[in-house]
């Protein structure tokens, strides 16, 4: 076997391995979408690639009419959108201060910021819940929004982006008499749109997929979010009557829009995840 044939075989093997792995990775998602058109009996019939006896949107219809699914969807969108707006504002503002100002105690405050990421959320899970019940925020939208409005990670991310903005732009705005907040709003914000997009995607996604906190603080079919709602579909049913078809329809509706969004905005998403890794 000459060297050329060997290299060709290598390239073919590379493609075989990469493509089969990729197919294996998306297989459960394909299974989920495919199953959403089947009855529960059909979902548990082997082999799984057998088509349903009748293609129908029946699971989706039942989901939208007999469950509180539209409420869950609306709640998830509202919480995620509101949290994202606050996070964008507070994190870019604080990131701006850490990137472009010199002030007393800056180093210490920055160490506190970074150190805060070392507190695992689970340590405060129970006491934060106690706090919520003391101030009557259990089952109140505030518990889903206010504690999460200014994450340290977001401030760090925005600081990285704002550091790249030339300080001369700020100086000339200041000479023109712009207030500090105007410099932020009219000079900095337009220049760090990619950073804001990245932060928006990560925040929205985190809120959209969050589970343990809404599971604890939200009660009642009309106020819970999508992941909690879908989990309830299973836990409320008796073992013999778990509505798997409808659950697969719900799972499809919760994940497919996000996957499409991710494919469209991949670049921002990946830069947001790696900014800490490469710099660190």
């Amino acid at each position: 076997m000459d060297e050329r044939t060997g290299r060709r075989l290598g390239v073919i093997a590379l493609h075989v391995v990469v493509i089969s792995g990729a197919l294996l990775t998306v297989a459960p998602i394909a299974f989920m979408i495919y199953s959403s058109f089947k009855t529960t009996t059909e979902i548990f019939t082997l082999p799984p690639w057998l088509p349903p006896a009748e293609w129908s949107f029946k699971n989706y219809e039942t989901l939208l009419t007999s469950w509180h699914f539209p409420y869950w969807y609306a709640n998830s969108i509202i919480y995620a959108a509101v949290v994202t707006i606050f996070v964008l504002f507070f994190c870019s503002l604080a990131g701006f201060a850490f990137a472009k100002y010199y002030f007393r105690g800056k180093n210490l405050l920055f160490i506190i910021l970074i150190g805060s990421t070392m507190i695992p959320f689970q340590l405060i899970l129970i006491p934060l819940f106690i706090l919520m019940s003391r101030i009557d925020w259990v089952n109140h939208p505030a518990s889903m929004i206010i504690p999460w409005m200014a994450p340290a990670f977001g401030i760090f991310l925005m600081r990285q982006y704002i550091q790249a903005v030339p300080s001369e732009l700020m100086e000339s705005a200041r000479i023109d008499g712009a207030s500090e907040f105007r410099i932020y709003a009219q000079v900095i914000v337009p220049l760090v749109r990619p950073g804001l997009t990245t932060l928006a995607i990560l925040t929205f996604l985190g809120s959209w997929n969050s589970f343990i906190w809404p599971l604890m603080v939200l009660r009642g079919n009309e106020v819970i979010t999508l992941p909690v709602g879908i989990a309830t579909m299973r836990s409320q049913a008796t073992a013999a009557q778990i509505p798997y078809g409808e659950m697969m329809a719900a799972a499809t509706l919760v994940s497919v829009p996000v996957i499409v969004l991710f494919i469209a905005l991949q670049r921002y998403f990946i830069s947001g995840l790696t900014i800490g890794a490469v710099k660190g």
């Binding site: 548990f44 695992p120 689970q122 006491p127 106690i130 200014a150 959209w208 890794a277």
Partner: protein, 308 residues
């Protein structure tokens, strides 16, 4: 109007502009510190104090000193859940991390066509709702009709009781963790691979190095900081695992606690059974572990820098 606003700005500057410049950064960063103090620092301190009390949230708390910790250390269930969590962490480090590293190298290969398409496919689990996909896996793991048992059933062999067997349930969870996190780790490694100078590989090629030699002599040593960084992420993620197990085992952590994680244990004792002091002790132990890991991370970085 702009003119008017600008002249107002100038006036402000003349009167108190300098002050504003000095105070502005404090105003800009204050939301974080206010929220942090109220919703993170205060609860953390409450957790530390509460871990010394016995409290059900209704009657008066009773001071018990370190008894919660003593009970925790002698609790068989805690030993079990700590072992389970350690198993998930070790499996992630020894299986998922190398898998992601090799995958990143393959996806980075220049001869790979349509690499963007394959990358997007590998990354989808990162954004997919954990609850949604875990329900899918629950179906795939079903004993008599699940897809994962299909080959065994087809061959007439005894199907595996994935979610009902004390050992297999852990395997089932590790497979789910691998599915969920390989893509994420691959993103980190791909970013790291971009920082390796191409010349190193070219020089090695001229010297006649094989693919494997290049991988072990160039890629791994050059990626060392990223590998350490990812290891910590993997450990921290494993220690905090909850969603997957809670859904997959229908909230039980079963069979007989065989799959329960530390956080699930904390949730169950604290939230379900209202043993608030005891759950706070669990949280504190968790915090100590995370803290030590973070210090180790700093230590490792130090070692790495000296070696340079």
């Amino acid at each position: 109007m702009v003119q008017a606003a600008m002249s107002r700005g100038r006036e402000a500057r003349e009167s108190g502009g300098f002050q504003q410049h000095k105070l502005a950064p404090y105003a800009f960063i204050s939301p974080f510190y206010i929220l942090f103090a109220f919703f993170f620092m205060a609860p953390s301190l409450i957790a530390l104090v509460l871990s010394l009390f016995r409290w059900d949230g209704i009657n008066d708390p009773r001071f018990v000193l370190a008894r919660n910790y003593g009970r925790l250390l002698s609790d068989k269930v805690f030993a079990q859940v700590a072992t389970n969590t350690a198993i998930y962490a070790i499996a992630s480090l020894l299986i998922v991390l190398p898998l992601a590293l090799v995958l990143a190298v393959l996806l980075n290969a220049k001869s790979l066509r349509f690499s963007n398409v394959w990358r997007a496919m590998y990354f989808t689990p990162v954004v997919t709702s954990t609850v949604a996909i875990t329900l899918v896996f629950q179906i795939l793991y079903s004993r008599d009709t699940g897809l994962l048992n299909a080959p065994l059933i087809y061959l007439g062999l005894e199907p595996i009781y994935w979610l009902g067997d004390r050992s297999w349930v852990k395997v089932a969870i590790i497979i789910l963790i691998a599915w969920r996190s390989t893509g994420l780790l691959t993103i980190y490694f791909l970013a790291g691979l971009q920082s390796i100078p191409e010349e190193l590989y070219e020089a090695a090629s001229i010297d006649g190095a094989s693919m494997l030699q290049k991988f072990f002599r160039i890629t791994i040593p050059m990626l060392r900081p990223i590998i350490l960084f990812v290891s910590i992420i993997v450990l921290l993620g494993s220690i905090q695992i909850f969603d997957e197990i809670h859904i997959l085992t229908s909230g039980t952590g079963g069979p007989a606690n065989a799959s329960m994680s530390v956080v699930q244990y904390l949730y169950e004792r604290g939230y379900t059974r209202l043993r608030l002091g005891f759950a706070s002790a669990v949280g504190t132990v968790l915090f100590a572990t995370v803290f030590i890991l973070s210090l180790l991370q700093l230590q490792w970085y130090g070692v790495f820098r000296n070696a340079d």
